[in-house]
Symmetry: C2
Subunit: 430 residues, 2 copies
């Protein structure tokens, strides 16, 4: 049995407490697997006197996590504070400067500053591990960085935000509208009071950025991610999707294109029989397409104390056992900077829903707009017939480049009889 691996934990929220519980409950099994015990020697959180339901009395308390990261008797600093800057960032930087390994669940921090932090970890010769930052308990970071490392990635995509997936699944099951379901999710604790990070696709974008870096060996480039959330998806869109053979999911997709790496987050209509449509509720899934392995999918719980603690502890066990890899799979100076493709270059099919005054000539106006913008319509369907009233018109476009689809939709939006901004959802063969 080797010397204990000493852990300093910054942040004792749900995940921190779950991690302490896992480390204590399975202490013996972990020691056997790592050939050394893992001990929590220091902790830091906001309120020292709060009862958290876990015993950290054996650990030295620090009011300031940055001081702890610098001074504690610890081999690993666990950053579970969250946020892309401020104290979380300072804690990680202090730990790396002090030559301590870092394990974090902080996707925002890594999406914004991952390349710099990876460089600092390399300079210090310590690992910077973040399995818990992407897709909760699913070991996707390890799978991409090690288990599938022999492949050249073509594409990686997934359902990376359980809150959005829960909302979309519930909208589908109940026929209710977005705001109604969001409110309920907030009451149930599945969504934050400020839901923007989740429902506007930012959280998915953070996670996608990390997957992109590992899969393609690129520096993290969160600024290049196209992001569109799910606020505009209606119960009617979900029903229409169903009739067309699709389900609507918020996906993060990163793919190599002739214009560079395209990173995009948006609602997608995906075929019901495809690999991603069946992933429901709070589950996450990541699909990766490699040149030798073909398509592989990993699915599991994307959030929650247990799954996240599972991922955090796996990282700790890797550090304990001396299993390390460069933060994004290759050394920082070998990450390849290349062009980032714009969403305008995306080629795909489109679903467009319009609210239209039911009067003669509207279809002709739409047809003219499509002809002028060189977009080919696959289908058009008017729901109901009510002369003089507003009715719903649903169209699908054959695969076309997004720049053209956007021009077409913009032209259509300016037709007099179109009374609301059109709703567009991309159709993907994923």
């Amino acid at each position: 049995m080797g010397a204990p691996l000493r852990i300093a934990i910054a942040g004792l929220g749900t995940v921190g407490v779950g991690t302490v519980q896992l480390l204590q409950e399975h202490a013996e099994a972990i020691a056997v697997r790592c050939r050394r015990p893992v001990e929590v020697t220091a902790v830091s959180a906001r309120d020292r006197h709060r009862n958290r339901g876990c015993d950290v009395s054996m650990a030295t308390w620090y009011d300031d996590p940055v001081v702890m990261a610098r001074e504690a008797e610890a081999d690993v600093v666990l950053e579970l504070i969250g946020g892309s800057d401020g104290v979380a960032r300072a804690t990680v930087e202090a730990a790396l400067s002090a030559g301590r390994a870092v394990v974090t669940a902080n996707k925002a921090l890594l999406a914004e500053h991952g390349t710099d932090l990876a460089r600092a970890a390399e300079a210090a010769g310590v690992p910077l591990a973040y399995e818990a930052a992407v897709a909760g308990g699913i070991p996707i970071v390890k799978a991409l960085r090690e288990g599938l490392a022999g492949n050249r990635a073509r594409r990686v995509y997934g359902i990376l935000n359980g809150t959005c997936n829960y909302i979309l699944t519930t909208m589908e099951e109940t026929g209710r509208e977005f705001h109604d379901v969001l409110e309920e999710a907030q009451h149930l604790g599945y969504a934050e009071a400020d839901p923007s990070f989740d429902v506007d696709g930012i959280d998915t974008g953070h996670k996608l950025t990390l997957l992109t870096s590992i899969a393609f060996g690129r520096p993290v480039d969160f600024g290049a991610v196209f992001m569109e959330g799910i606020r505009h998806v209606t119960a009617m869109d979900i029903q229409q999707a169903d009739e067309l053979g699709y389900r609507i999911k918020l996906l993060g997709v990163a793919e190599e294109t002739e214009h560079g790496i395209l990173q995009r987050v948006h609602p997608c209509m995906v075929p019901k029989q495809g690999p991603i449509a069946s992933v429901d509720g709070v589950f996450n899934a990541v699909v990766t397409e490699g040149d030798y392995v073909g398509r592989a999918k990993l699915e599991g719980r994307g959030a929650g104390a247990g799954p996240t603690a599972s991922a955090v502890v796996a990282d700790i066990m890797d550090v304990a056992a001396g299993r390390t890899a460069p933060t994004f799979g290759v050394p920082v100076d070998r990450l390849e900077t290349g062009p980032a493709a714009s969403i305008d270059t995306h080629v795909g099919a489109y679903y467009v829903r319009l609210m239209v005054l039911d009067r003669p000539g509207v279809f002709a106006d739409i047809a003219t707009a499509l002809r002028d913008t060189q977009v080919s319509m696959e289908s058009i369907l008017q729901r109901g017939h009510n002369p003089g009233e507003v009715v719903q018109v649903v169209m699908t476009f054959h695969p076309t480049v997004e720049a053209a689809a956007t021009r077409a939709i913009d032209r259509i939006a300016h037709i007099d009889a179109v009374v609301e901004p059109p709703c567009m959802i991309r159709i993907e063969d994923l």
Copy 2:
């Protein structure tokens, strides 16, 4: 850049050639990720002069792989010969004795001799890696051994044989019978001339044994696996399953029960909406249930040159980067020997199909048999009505212990009017 990792390859069949191609095509990326190049320095195969479509002229040729394993200038010996004994085993033993790391795709060898080989690897202080032995390109060995290592496993199960899954999927899609589809699969090269390893569940059993060892920290115990293949599954059973809301899959299941670890391989009726029913054709999937992570599923191609080479190369890259773990997750002397549960202790629901002479009194005889054996029937259905002729009767039992179900079926088989041995398929909520 570190010193090259030198590889000696024993066996240049499909997987060997695929591995050489991958190592050559992605040589630079692999060197960057491992911080050292990987070089094939020695090869051994049956026929030196066969054109294999890959260039191994830079490697030293050995007619005898055992001599190569002992003498070649290599850090790693790749065993891709196959078979649980004979030259494959001798090659691996020679490599470990000579202090060389071993990477193998040989499930039969490890299922039969895994604990001894793990001990030899430990004594030599070298890794024995076998990601390719289970579920092809899916990195499930790494996921269980490292990515989910903090969990206590409750159950692990999966579709582990692409040949059987292809046959069952094709039977379902076409309504054709087993032997017909098997013959076609043999013509297409999806099934061996001697299909027994696949269709009788032996290959699934081999793979399950390895998953069991990793998930539960047990010595490999292939002898304890209950195995039943898919030869007795008929098109009618598949249609009945469909009507009952199930699909039929050959599963390997390992679970902790009050009687010990139960390892079983047999066709299962699984709910269409469950995590495993949608895995079609040559795809494999493994579901693991851990106490913290909950349910996680990994899905991908279970065989073929590309996916298998992907797994082999991942193992090689781990060796190159110095990432190692004990063969079955814990050191051999910490593997826990415990009782193996018998299939008789399994508790589940059952589907039973009978061929019965259509005459009065048969249902009464069946009911008596069930009463006497204390088995509770959920449903019974006679297909067609043809007095004096043979008709089909389909029953389902409520969950019961297998010993009782077996007694009931045995009693029913002895009823005069039952003219063929009953066909039983277990119903699982997986």
